[in-house]
Amino acid sequence: MAAVLAALGLFAVTALSAGHAYVTGESHWSRAQKSATLALLGYLQTGDDELFRRYEQEIAVPLNARRAREAMDLGSAHDDEARDGFVGSRNPAADAPGMIRLYRCCSTLPQLADAVTSWRTADEAIAELTRLADEARQLPAEARAALQPRLLALDARLTMLEEHFSADLGHASRLTATALETMLMASALLFGPAAVWLMLRRARRDLVATQAIQRSEALFRSLWDTSIDGTIIIDTHSRIRLANPALHALLGHAPGSLVGQPLAVLQPEQLRAPHETGLARHLATGERRLNWHGTEALARHADGHDLPVEIRFGSFELDGETLFVGFLHDLTGRKAAERVAAEHRRLQAQDRAKSEFLARMSHELRTPLNAILGFTDLLGAGHSGPVTAEQTRQLGYVAGAGRHLLALINDLLDLSRIEAGRAELSLAPLDVADLAAEVADQLRPLAEQRGLTLATAVASPLPWLGDRRKLAQVLLNLVGNAIKFSEQGDIAITAQLDGDRLVMAVRDHGPGVPEAQRSLLFQPFRQLDGGRTDAPPGTGLGLYLSAQLLSLMNGRIRHEPAEGGGSRFVVELEAPA
């Protein structure tokens, strides 16, 4: 009994370590097939024989593993062949006998059988890879690139198969280990508590290590797949080993399609040579010319345009190989915001310059007008000595022209303020009846001088919330125009509420506005023919300015022919919100 248990225990220990050897062997297998695929891809692209030799060297690993399996299937007479196969696939020679024994005794167990099936399927894909390599070898260099899509598809299939193989093997290995550990427990009864403790500790350490790897893998996957920034891993030949989903999306490539491609496909032409130079220098001297903590650069999108990105680099060692990891942060949005901000600053500066210019212009024009109007009025009033009737008339023309110029300056400044968005409304409650009366009082002397009557018809009080000065400016302009163009009859100012709106109108009995000229009424510097010659000339800005003032006040103006001749200018204002 004791002897049986001891034998079982011994078997269990060797079987456990053989299982471990298979798991290690599988990782050699998968790394070698990946390297072989990449080397072959490089060879298809560059025709470099060195890469083909590398391919042959790497593909030997899965081929030898296959040789070992097929030898084991043939029976114990072929154990030497199987051992050579394992050694050729980078397994330590000492592990080979245990691996062969485990395969013999347990490969028909359901869990192990799954792993062996995966292995066989993967080997079929490897065989296809070698056929593709042979084909490439026979093709002329320029035709080889055509094989790339097939190779990439095969690579994707191999990656999937390898994952199955690895998962099945891991599963089988764990189950076998559990079964064997149970046997060990039994044999351990013989060897005493010390052995039990040793075995348990070993099993526990393996379990902890496996869990740590699984946790690390889960963590890596979640970061890799979730990252909002493009992430890429390249080797020292600037070939893309891995690229995360965000990078594919950012640069417009189909998911997974970048793996195996040269980094150059993501670089604008002008960045390729500097990159190669910098990489070579870094590999030779360790020097880092670029700021690895964030450098602004450009990345080439699949559709050919370049987008601004911030790049951050890092490097690390994996299985004795130096790899580089890069993070690409899309700067398109930030750049656009910067452009908008710069444009905003430019417009603000332009606006300030324009405002300053207008202020100066106003000052420079008013200063000489002060002298012109002041002395003309003094002379005309006879303060500086007697003037003849003829001189009085002529001084009147100078004064009239001076005032016209002043009106023009004032209108232009008002307009430029409105257009610059600098005109501010000063809203206050007001009585429209009072406002109309004030305007009428101001212009009635002029109207009567010309034989016209000026009347208001506004129910008092008519309360409204508005900018009194600007409303008065509009009414003064409209009534002033009416006086200027009327030969006879009365002029009436009316106002009433229409729901929430205020409707004001100025009606005259003048000649009206000819159909053809109506569209020009509210255009700047357009003046109608037919104004009275004894009226002061207008600036040509009055109605245009009125319309602008009204639109500032959420209102509008229109002209309509009045019944019985003459014109009616109607102003409508919405109540301020």
Partner: protein, 121 residues
């Protein structure tokens, strides 16, 4: 009793105009061409009222008015801005500096004397 007006104006022709109009109305006018001279003249002899141009060399009208208003001996003298700077913000600025009123250029020669008299007690 004579009323003394200190006229601060850098443009000679416009100074002559205002001075002529005011003297015609019986005021005694002292004319200076910038803010520094205005401060010196006011310190030498306290005027009854000051007409102040705003845009001037050496010391502008805003700063001159602020200094006059900071002087206990002169802060009671009304300062009327008379300026070709006629934008609402210019007016707000001159009133903030301490001016009692802001008269636009061109001035109305028929009303200037009355506008000055309105500020005299």
């Amino acid at each position: 009793m004579t009323t003394r007006v200190l006229l601060v104006e850098d443009n000679e022709v416009n100074a002559y105009l205002a001075r002529y109009v005011l003297e015609q109305s019986g005021f005694v006018v002292e004319w200076v061409a910038d803010g520094e001279q205005a401060l010196a003249a006011a310190a030498r002899q306290r005027p009854d009222i000051i007409l102040m141009d705003l845009r001037m060399p050496v010391l502008d009208g805003y700063e001159t008015t602020r200094r006059l208003k900071a002087d206990p001996a002169l802060c009671g003298v009304p300062v009327l801005a008379v300026s070709a700077q006629a934008r609402p913000e210019d007016k707000a600025r001159s009133l903030a500096a301490g001016c009692a009123e802001h008269l636009d250029k061109p001035i109305d020669v028929t009303r200037l004397a009355d506008q000055v008299r309105a500020w005299l007690k």
